[in-house]
């Protein structure tokens, strides 16, 4: 990205798109009732007003706290949320007596948006999350493995990916995906250069060194444990895929994803070979009609989508209640039934646009941590959508993951809104313009030694504007680490200075003091200290 892109705030765009999104969702809600009873829903004005006020309040907070955030993310997600509410309302009407889970879900929407706003208030700069990678990792793994704990973990429809405290159940994977994204991003920012070192070269691909295989092995074993003990291919795919993808982005070594894919396929094959519950899932995927009772949900979901046809039956006119758990796992099937193939495809594209906005942020972000975090959060989101929608439409074996922002369930909604807040903070920092620097950017592009921070407190290191991924000579071996040594160190190739983890934001040599709002960390602040 050699050209400098100046982003504008685009909050007006956000508001317009938000109103459009809310219009679609409210339209769906009203249509359900009109199609079912030819009357407007009882208290519909209240429902619409609460939904609109929540959305507008979120917009105001965004405008205030992160004015440069991506303008499409929130409207897209609020649309998904609204469609989910409309479908849950529709499914409520299909039961006798009529249920009231849509009201509950609307309450959870309010709570989630409150959490979203809270994150925006507390987390001014996401860089603080970088301080405790190992703690974050341990916490993330603990959360991920919580469903295996006695007493609180429980199995639901063949997958042990839930915990239950009292009457309150929760899928810890929703939280784990945020915590682990942060942990991986901070860990990999530190370790990327080491992990990028080439080992054996096989068939034109530089394999990693054997001694660097530790982290991927740990993650592989963890994903196998998830597959075998939590019995869920989707969750397993989610976390191993997340780690492998972030490893690849950090090191730029294609050997990592290749190795990861091979490992994952091998693990999945072993799981299929030796565990009957994996075989059950696979047979339900390939031939659901082989066992009517066991695969009842998959079959009913299929029937529903087939019944919907190309354009669906219309809101309220299908029979999605015939599918068990239509509000949770199979809400996509319910949407497919009433909105048809066309609606389901639109839904997939909505998710795809969200993922693409997130990945675009990763491209624009100025520091590796932000890049990794944005890419990780977006990709894990993409994987989750792929796993659950693929499972419902029989592209993949079914998993018990929730459909983000649409499924019924408060905890999932809160976790996903928290993730959205984090991603939007990153987009805000990525899109925010820098204060003009004293010297033009191009002046350093032709220098041979480009990144030596200056000990002076007055002249800022202008190189900090250029994202590392675009520098033509990305570090790929230890000797290049010298380019990023902070001020004070001798530029003779010896990585003498170990910058303590977490102390960086206060680094006095950072030389951006003249501009307290400049992005952090500057690209040149690589930390070579871990090499020895």
């Amino acid at each position: 990205m050699s050209e400098v892109v100046a982003f504008r705030k685009r909050r007006g765009v956000e508001l317009t798109m938000l109103i459009l999104a809310m219009g679609l969702a409210v339209g769906a809600y009203v249509l359900v009732s009109l199609n079912l009873t030819a009357k407007l829903p009882a208290n519909w004005l209240w429902g619409v007003a609460i939904y609109a006020v929540i959305g507008l309040a979120a917009h105001v907070v965004i405008r205030w706290r992160i004015p440069y955030a991506d303008p499409l993310l929130f409207p897209l997600i609020y649309l998904l949320n609204g469609l989910g509410l409309a479908m849950i309302y529709r499914l409520d009407q299909g039961t006798n007596p009529v249920m009231h889970s849509a009201e509950l879900q609307l309450t959870w929407t309010a709570i989630s948006v409150a959490v979203f706003a809270l994150v925006l208030f507390v987390l001014r700069d996401h860089a603080v999350l970088r301080r405790f990678p190992y703690l974050m990792f341990l916490a993330g793994m603990f959360i991920l493995m919580m469903p295996l704990l006695p007493f609180i973990g429980f199995e639901n429809h063949g997958a042990q990916i839930w915990i239950k405290i009292g009457s309150y159940s929760f899928q810890p994977a929703e939280l784990a995906k945020i915590v682990l994204s942060v942990a991986f991003a901070s860990y990999l920012v530190d370790k990327k250069d080491v992990l990028a070192l080439a080992g054996l070269r096989v068939a034109g691909i530089d394999l990693p060194r054997a001694r660097d295989l530790g982290p991927i092995t740990i993650m592989w074993l963890a994903s196998l444990a998830v597959l075998v003990y939590q019995k869920d291919l989707g969750t397993s795919l989610l976390f191993f895929g997340l780690f492998v993808m972030m490893l690849y982005v950090a090191t730029e070594r294609p050997s990592w994803p290749i190795l990861g894919t091979v490992l994952f396929l091998a693990g999945a094959f072993l799981g299929w070979r030796y565990y009957s519950h994996v075989q059950t899932r696979v047979s339900a995927w390939l031939d659901p009609f082989s066992n009517w009772d066991q695969n009842y949900q998959v079959i009913q979901g299929q029937f529903g989508m087939a019944w919907g046809g190309l354009f669906g039956t219309g809101w309220g006119l299908g029979r999605p209640n015939l599918t068990p758990l239509a509000k949770n796992d199979f809400i996509a099937a319910a949407l497919g039934e009433e909105l048809g193939v066309a609606g389901l495809m639109a839904l997939i594209v909505l998710y795809a646009v969200i993922v693409m906005r997130g990945l675009r942020t990763a491209l624009t972000a100025r520091d590796p941590f932000s890049k990794l975090l944005a890419a990780g959060l977006s990709f894990v989101f993409a994987l989750q959508v792929f796993a659950i929608l693929g499972g419902v439409t029989r592209l993949l074996p079914l998993t018990g993951l929730t459909t983000p922002f649409i499924s019924q369930g408060g905890s999932s909604l809160v976790a996903n809104y928290a993730m959205l807040a984090l991603l939007m903070v990153v987009t805000h920092h990525a899109r925010r313009p820098l204060t003009p620097t004293a010297e033009p950017l191009q002046s350093l592009a032709h220098e041979t030694t480009q990144v030596i921070a200056v000990p002076s407190r007055t002249s800022p290191p202008v190189e900090s504007r250029s994202p590392s991924g675009d520098t033509p000579h990305t570090p790929s071996s230890a000797d290049e680490l010298t380019q990023a040594i902070p001020s004070g160190a001798a530029a003779d190739g010896e990585p003498t200075q170990a910058v303590p983890l977490g102390s960086a934001p206060d680094e006095p040599t950072q030389a951006i003091q003249s501009n307290p709002r400049a992005p952090w960390p500057p690209e040149n602040l690589n930390r070579p200290g871990r090499l020895s």
Binding site: F303, A306, R319, A352, K371, R394, L395
Partner: protein
């Protein structure tokens, strides 16, 4: 770091593409079979909520839809109960449908492609969509006569119009009352379903007329005779009718008709030894070829599910001898044997049998009309005439005399299949008449007479007679 991020974006795009393509593939490939699945409640409920068309015999509905006041708007009703069950089948909530209710389901419910314009008009005018009605080829009198004559005995009767292939009667016994399965009282329907399917001795849900095959016994001799005429024999060719020891075995087929008879007389007396010897002489290939010309080896009926009749592929000489008298593994549906009689009557031309005359939309516009078509040529016109002459002999002065009808030329052939001496024999009678123009096959599974007696003539022939009389 941007290059790998771009590649990750590519992977995310591919995942999206995979989802989109998969949804389309589901729509294009899987949707039809999912919606045709009888267990798909969305489809069955919608069908129950629709004014389904009637199935007609003449001007009488044998399956009709009447208004209902329970959870569904319409109730399917079968005014004649058991009489037409083998033709209409049933239309149930939990157990799908069968026979014409199934095979013409989309036309009856109005969802067939041919009714697309009607649906559009209904949509535009706000009229309630109504299904098409199916006009069958059945003749009410023939069906009633066949059913009454068969009575409570296990078996089947099929009557055809030889020159068109139109099925005039199709009875199978024991049968069931489709009203029991069509009821909206789900529990009643379930208990009826369990009772009908649990009765393994009588198997009332089995369609013996078109979906079960049985050894045809001596009626197969008509096919052997056709093969013999084709090979140059004449009705008055003299056959060796003495007892015949099957080559290479210790099994002897004893004679019941002296030591020599003409081919015609052998058929009239149904000489087993003569036809076994003749069949061996003609060879199994000639017999199989002749049987296939009559329709063996193909599913003859397309309106409802039917099975093909069989002449075994792997067969040695003594087995050929047994097969020539309708034993060994030769097996045929009653419909197939009716087609044999029909082909003889129709100058050797086998017509494609059919059950549905036409389909009419609710406004009586003809949506489809069946045109009679030729299935195959079984034998030459001259040989067919000789066969007719021989079969008339069977009725006038042979084993089939009980099928004589005053003033009508009737040709026939009896059959008794007693593959073992423990089970009571299967009684067969195939016949044709010139006026009325009809071909009939009567099959009685449980003839309840001594295994040695010629059951076909005694038990089955009178049933054929009453069907012919009903059609006069």
């Amino acid at each position: 770091m941007n290059r790998p991020i771009r590649r990750v974006a590519l992977v995310a795009m591919l995942m999206t593409l995979a989802l989109l393509i998969n949804v389309c593939v589901n729509f294009l490939v899987r949707q039809e079979s999912l919606n045709a699945n009888p267990q798909n409640r969305r489809v069955t409920d919608a069908a129950f909520a629709q004014d389904r068309g009637a199935i007609m015999v003449g001007n009488t509905a044998i399956a009709e839809t009447v208004a209902s006041k329970d959870q569904f708007k319409f109730q399917r009703r079968y005014p004649q109960g058991e009489l037409y069950a083998s033709v209409t089948g049933f239309f149930s909530y939990n157990f799908g449908s069968s026979e014409l209710e199934q095979s013409y389901g989309s036309q009856l419910s109005g969802s067939d492609d041919s009714q697309f314009v009607n649906r559009l008009i209904d949509l535009a005018t706000g009229a309630k969509p109504r299904g098409a009605s199916v006009q069958t080829t059945l003749n009410a009198k023939a069906q009633k006569a066949a059913s009454d004559a068969l009575g409570s005995r296990k078996g089947a009767v099929v009557a055809l119009n030889p020159s068109t292939g139109a099925i005039l009667a199709m009875v199978t016994s024991p049968t069931f009352d489709p009203n029991d399965l069509a009821t909206h009282q789900v529990a009643d329907a379930r208990s009826a379903w369990q009772k009908l399917n649990g009765d393994s001795a009588n198997r009332p849900m089995a369609n013996r007329a078109v979906r079960e095959i049985f050894p045809p016994g001596s009626t197969f001799k008509v096919i052997v005779s056709a093969a013999a005429l084709d090979a140059g024999y004449e009705p008055d060719s003299v056959l060796d009718t003495s007892s015949y020891r099957l080559p290479g075995t210790g099994t002897t087929i004893n004679t019941t008709c002296g030591n020599s008879q003409t081919l015609k007389r052998s058929l009239e007396l149904s000489c087993n030894s003569a036809f076994a010897r003749l069949g061996v002489k003609l060879g199994s290939d000639a017999l199989r070829e002749q049987a296939e010309k009559f329709g063996f080896g193909t599913k003859p009926l397309s309106d409802i599910t039917s099975v093909a009749s069989r002449f075994p592929e792997e067969i040695d000489t003594p087995q050929t001898g047994l097969a020539s008298i309708g034993g060994f593994e030769v097996a045929a549906t009653p419909l197939q044997m009716a087609m044999v009689a029909a082909a003889v009557r129709n100058d050797g031309v086998v017509m494609q049998p059919y059950l549905v005359e036409s389909v009419r939309s609710a406004d009586l516009q003809v949506l489809s009309q069946t045109r009679p078509s030729q299935l195959s040529l079984a034998t030459s016109s001259a040989n067919a005439a000789k066969l007719r002459q021989m079969m008339v002999g069977v009725v006038q002065s042979g084993t089939g005399w009980r099928a004589q009808v005053a003033g009508v030329t009737v040709g026939g052939k009896t059959g008794t299949a007693n593959s073992d001496n423990v089970r009571t024999p299967y009684a067969w009678f195939i016949a044709w008449a010139d006026n009325p123009d009809v071909a009939i096959c009567v099959f009685v599974q449980d003839a309840e007479i001594a295994a040695t007696d010629v059951a076909g003539g005694r038990v089955a022939a009178p049933i054929a007679k009453s069907v012919i009389e009903a059609l006069r």
